[in-house]
């Protein structure tokens, strides 16, 4: 019943504010009721603030070394302790947020752009071109994702940017399939047939009608994929195939510190906790966005 009341309210809003504003109001109304999602968005915002203002928040520079304070436990001066070069771990984690968020966002944006492009072409034009693109997606999805990333990095050479490219490529078919299936559904709707009958061109139909209708599931999937992209980048960094020392990428920090775990467990504990926290944040936010934007995607 509350659903129908909401729908009624939404209709009133359409008259007052226009469709986009009303959709946003609807979305916000549903999203803010979801407490875990708010917590998730808060965590994500926290890390974004850390990344943007890293220079002001971090008490020390990324690579400020002091051999006299190697592997010191957490203290008032060094909140999260120091690593084997006497660098302040808290500062490095703060700067590391820049790297992890950059990989997460850029990799996912890249895969959304290419995935959407291929998905729209496949779904809208169909026939032979659909078969080719869909088989291409099938083949990419036939590899376990981390393995395909490793294969790509082994070709391009180990670096954070190459890891980013690899993660983006691996995620292309995820968005491609999603958009293709949305296009197939939307394409058959009467208003598209109507648009075509009044002589609207393919490009206009795609940009004005089909893409906006595929927007919600892509945003939801994108948020959840930022979480896995950050995890994959950390995994590649840990294997020495992503960011290279002394870059403060969290996975790379873990890999460099693992030999000190016996004497200085904090060197391993905190970078890992940072990964868990930011990934939990994106996962909670993604689940909340899904419930608010597209309840059909639930389960």
């Amino acid at each position: 019943m509350s659903q129908s009341v909401q729908n009624g309210a939404a209709k009133d809003l359409v008259k007052e504010k226009g469709p986009l504003a009303s959709a946003l109001t609807d979305f916000w109304r549903a999203f803010r009721k979801n407490k875990p999602a708010i917590v998730g968005a808060g965590i994500v915002l926290f890390f974004i603030v850390l990344a943007v203002f890293a220079r002001f928040i971090a008490p020390q520079g990324i690579n400020d070394q002091n051999i006299n304070i190697r592997l010191e436990p957490p203290s008032a001066q060094h909140w999260l302790g120091t690593d084997d070069f006497g660098r302040d771990i808290f500062s490095r984690i703060v700067f590391g947020a820049q790297l992890s968020l950059r990989v997460g966002f850029l990799a996912v944006i890249g895969s959304i752009i290419f995935g959407t492009l291929l998905g729209v072409i496949a779904g809208y034009f169909g026939k032979f071109i659909d078969t080719v693109i869909s088989r291409f997606f099938d083949i990419l999805l036939a590899f376990p994702s981390i393995l395909l990333s490793i294969a790509i990095v082994s070709v391009l050479g180990p670096s954070l940017n190459n890891a980013l490219v690899a993660i983006a490529i691996v995620n292309v078919p995820v968005f491609g399939r999603l958009v293709r299936s949305r296009v197939l559904t939307v394409k058959e709707e009467e208003y598209i047939v109507a648009a075509r009958s009044i002589g609207m061109g393919n490009t206009r139909i795609i940009f004005n009608h089909i893409l906006p209708n595929s927007f919600a599931p892509v945003i939801v999937q994108g948020t959840l994929n930022i979480a896995t992209a950050i995890l994959d980048a950390a995994g590649l960094g840990f294997l020495g195939m992503g960011a290279q020392p002394p870059q403060p990428e969290w996975g790379t920090m873990l890999s460099a510190s693992r030999q000190y775990i016996t004497n200085a467990p904090w060197t391993v504990l905190f970078p890992g906790l940072a990964i868990v926290l930011v990934v939990v944040g994106f996962n909670l936010m993604g689940d909340g966005l899904r419930d608010a934007l597209d309840p059909r995607m639930k389960n």
């Binding site: 088989r135 291409f136 099938d138 083949i139 990419l140 036939a142 590899f143 376990p144 994702s145 981390i146 393995l147 395909l148 490793i150 294969a151 082994s154 070709v155 391009l156 979480a227 995890l231 950390a234 995994g235 840990f238 294997l239 020495g240 195939m241 996975g251 873990l254 693992r258 775990i261 016996t262 467990p265 391993v268 504990l269 890992g272 990964i275 868990v276 990934v279 939990v280 996962n283 909670l284 639930k298 389960n299």
Partner: protein, 334 residues
Amino acid sequence: MLSYSVKRLLMLVPVLLGMTIIVFAIIHAIPGNPALTILGTKATPEAIHNLNQSLGLDQPLYVQYFTYLKNILSGHLGTSIQDNTSIASEIWPHLAATIELSFVAMVIAVVVGINAGIISAWKQNSVFDYAAMIIALIGVSMPIFWLGLLEQWAFSVKLNWLPSIGRTDIITTVQPITNLYLIDTLLEGQFAQFWMVVRHLILPAIALATIPTAIIARMTRSSMLEVLKSDYIRTAKAKGEHMFWIVYKYALKNAFIPILTVIGLQTGLLLGGAILTETIFGWPGIGLYVYNAIQYRDYPVIQSGILVISFIFVMVNFITDLLYGLFDPRIKYR
């Protein structure tokens, strides 16, 4: 069912062929001269020429691909650049180690995940439900290599309960029969060795099981919640059937298809995820085999390792598809 299986199997052919093309392309996509990249900048022109010849890189691309395909189909996976061994003969012991580890991890994930999910759904909104779902959320958000390191620190270094590295003690060698040590030690009647193998398996298996456990638990919960709302469950309750049987006998059967899908998908993903777990625990599986090959730029090993793991991944998904019909007779194969 049979015609569906055959059809589904035929559909795999283009995917598998595509996989071979991508794996074949790995060595050719290396920027510049692959032989120079493999051997390093100090290589003599003669060494580069020899490597080009032995890898067949001096032939036209299509000739190279068809030779590659022919070799794979006849079971030749190439030769390791690092130590000149035949990859096909080297790969099975590694693969067996990974299969053993993945199997144990999957058993843990299925048993713990399904039961946690069922109880969460049954006692929805209880303390158990909240706790289980928070743990599951952290489980899917955790880098397994980090969990592995913490496990080693807690259970090997601090508590000294379990070994932190390898498949066996350094001084013990298990007589390989199948290369699955759990089976080999039992076949040999070496129960002390069997126990040692189990102890070595526990930490890596738990680390590897974390993500699938969490995902299976979440899927089981949501799938069960839906089924528990259905009319036939209400009828069963009205008839006074004990809740335990309603949940485990009637509801689980109908909730199982989505759970089966995740189990299949996760089993395949375990093989990929094994590379991180194996690197941390020094587990001599195919993941570590590929990881070491990457360090030495041993591209034939990288290619074959990736091809074999992905082939298994595809086959596991294929089998999962066929299993649907067994669990849900409503599914009609066309």
